[in-house]
């Protein structure tokens, strides 16, 4: 018996009660107010159901606008007091009660048997991207079992997030075919050439992972970096993960505090080659970081601004240094992978807005048009009768004269219908139950 459950029961009772009173009440204004209560309860439920925006919309539009409209009309028509008159179709009421009871019973049964709990959200497909971090290696193709998913990823290139199949797969990294004509390229899997790296990976639904192909050509390593996209609860914060893809090193990642150098924070410590730090949540802003190997600073990261709502990944990897003569050498460098945007909060306005303005743009616009039409329609429907004046053309052609003679135009001086409030003694017909 959690708090939420108790809360739920209370509010539900209020809702039902108010609905019942709304139905029963003889005074239309009372009914409207009871409806407001009901609507507010429903709004509360929206809050409980992680739909805060909708809750606000509900209160604003429904309770604030629609019911007000109701009240306006009730006042206009003066039907607050509803008289009693025997209904013409009395059997409708009793029949309705019977039917609705039946319906209710059936609905209960259905719901209780329906095993709604068993409805699990469908996890989206695993997402992943690949990063080529092997210095000196040519562009690579990545194959999952025998399906090529990445083509010609050059050194330092990060692919975009792509949907990956769920389950175990063999990740095979082959050097890309350098032939101009793609038809000439042999299939490396069938031709049996040696991959650069071959790692079995398990893909799980609902996860987002960055796969860094790091190390050297001789000793490559596939490093999985979880870069979740779950909504960041706190505003204006970001996530940060750091990865060591520099072989044969163990490093520390330190956040520098400009004002107080002593208060430098070590965000990740003792990362070996292929080590991935935990997720660090930082408020957005400008930061300076250091990659330290013991006391020696390997790489300094300066002047980096992090945007909120993203998951940033720093990768310490080797980079080839072009030397005029001799073997190319490598040096450590910090690669800042493109940040992975975290999702907005479920039920939040940003999320709603995102969906509305991307997938549901057309219905959104149509509904807007509908509202326009509704406005116009309501105005036209409720306007007073217009006196049609006989319209004369200034220049009348013989054809027009003939037409006019044939079809007489009446001058209708239609009386202005009284839109005034009816007198109290001329009460409209009561609508009793």
């Amino acid at each position: 018996m959690t708090v939420e459950l108790v809360l739920f029961i209370v509010v539900a009772a209020v809702a039902i009660f108010s609905a019942a009173l709304m139905l029963v009440s003889r005074n239309a204004v009372h009914s409207a107010l009871f409806l407001v209560v009901n609507l507010l309860c429903v709004g509360f439920f929206y809050l409980m159901l992680a739909a805060p925006f909708l809750a606000m919309v509900q209160i604003t539009v429904y309770a604030g606008a629609i019911v007000v409209l109701f009240l306006f009309v009730i006042m206009l028509l003066g039907s607050e007091r509803l008289g009693g008159r025997p209904a013409k179709y009395g059997w409708v009421a009793s029949g309705a009660v019977v039917l609705t009871s039946a319906f209710l019973i059936v609905a209960f049964i259905a719901i209780l048997q329906g095993n709604i709990e068993g409805l699990k959200p469908i996890e989206p497909a695993p997402q992943g991207r690949f990063v080529h971090a092997i210095p000196g290696a040519p562009a690579v193709d990545v194959y999952l079992n025998d399906e090529r998913i990445v083509e010609k990823a050059a050194y330092g290139q990060t692919t975009a997030l792509m949907a990956l199949p769920t389950g175990e797969r063999n990740v095979l990294v082959y050097p890309s075919c350098t032939n101009e004509d793609p038809a000439q390229c042999p299939n490396p899997i069938t031709s049996g050439s040696a991959p650069i790296a071959a790692v079995p990976v398990r893909f799980e639904a609902g996860t987002t992972t960055t796969y860094i192909i790091g190390g050297t050509v001789q000793a490559p390593q596939l490093i999985s970096v979880p870069t979740t996209r779950a909504p960041i609860e706190a505003d204006n914060t970001m996530r940060l993960t750091v990865v060591n893809a520099l072989p044969d090193t163990t490093v520390n990642f330190v956040q520098l505090n400009a004002e107080n150098p002593a208060a430098n924070e070590t965000l990740a410590e003792g990362l070996a080659f292929g080590g991935v730090s935990g997720v660090v949540t930082l408020p957005r802003g400008a930061y300076e970081f250091d990659w330290n190997q013991g006391e020696r600073r390997l790489v300094a990261v300066r002047g980096w601004r992090g945007e909120a709502g993203n998951h940033h990944v720093f990768v310490l990897m080797a980079e080839e240094v072009p030397v005029a003569a001799g073997e190319p050498t490598t040096r450590p460098v910090n690669a800042h992978l493109p940040p992975v945007e975290a999702e907005k909060a479920f039920g939040g306005p940003q999320r709603l807005g995102e969906e509305l303005l991307s997938r549901y743009l057309l219905p959104f616009e149509l509904v807007a048009l509908l509202l326009l039409a509704t406005m116009v329609g309501a105005i036209i429907l409720t306007r007073e009768e217009v006196i049609r004046r006989e319209r004369r053309r200034l220049v009348v052609s013989p054809a027009i004269k003939r037409i006019n003679r044939a079809v007489p135009i009446d001058v209708k001086a239609e009386p202005v219908a009284s839109a005034a409030l009816p007198e109290p003694d001329r009460q409209p017909e009561p609508s009793g139950d």
Partner: protein, 104 residues
């Protein structure tokens, strides 16, 4: 997301109850405005159900549907009330039992 604190079933049950009450209201009341309000009750019940399921599925589509429903309900109420006003002008009554000119 974590599973909801209250089982969704309850919400659905509540939605059904509210819906039924709305139906009853439509059938029983004779005042046109009352009928409208009952219709609003029904709509709300449906909306509640939608949001509950959206929470369960973890899918935003349910909430978007509710968004649209609320909009449309607003439009409908506007027009409906305008109609009632117009009818009242001519018949001086909003008892739906009086509105039988479309009788076959």
């Amino acid at each position: 997301m974590q599973p909801p604190a209250v089982a969704i079933d309850y919400f659905i049950v509540l939605s059904a109850v509210l819906f039924i009450m709305g139906v009853l209201g439509v059938l029983v009341r004779r005042n046109a405005i009352m009928i409208f309000m009952s219709v609003e009750l029904m709509l709300n019940a449906a909306n509640l159900s939608l949001v509950a399921f959206a929470r369960q599925w973890g899918n935003m589509n349910g909430q978007l549907a509710v968004f649209f429903v609320i909009t449309i309900a607003a439009a409908e109420v506007a027009i409906g009330l305008a109609l009632i006003v117009a009818i009242f002008r001519s018949k001086k009554s909003i008892d739906v039992d009086e509105l039988n000119m479309m009788q076959g």
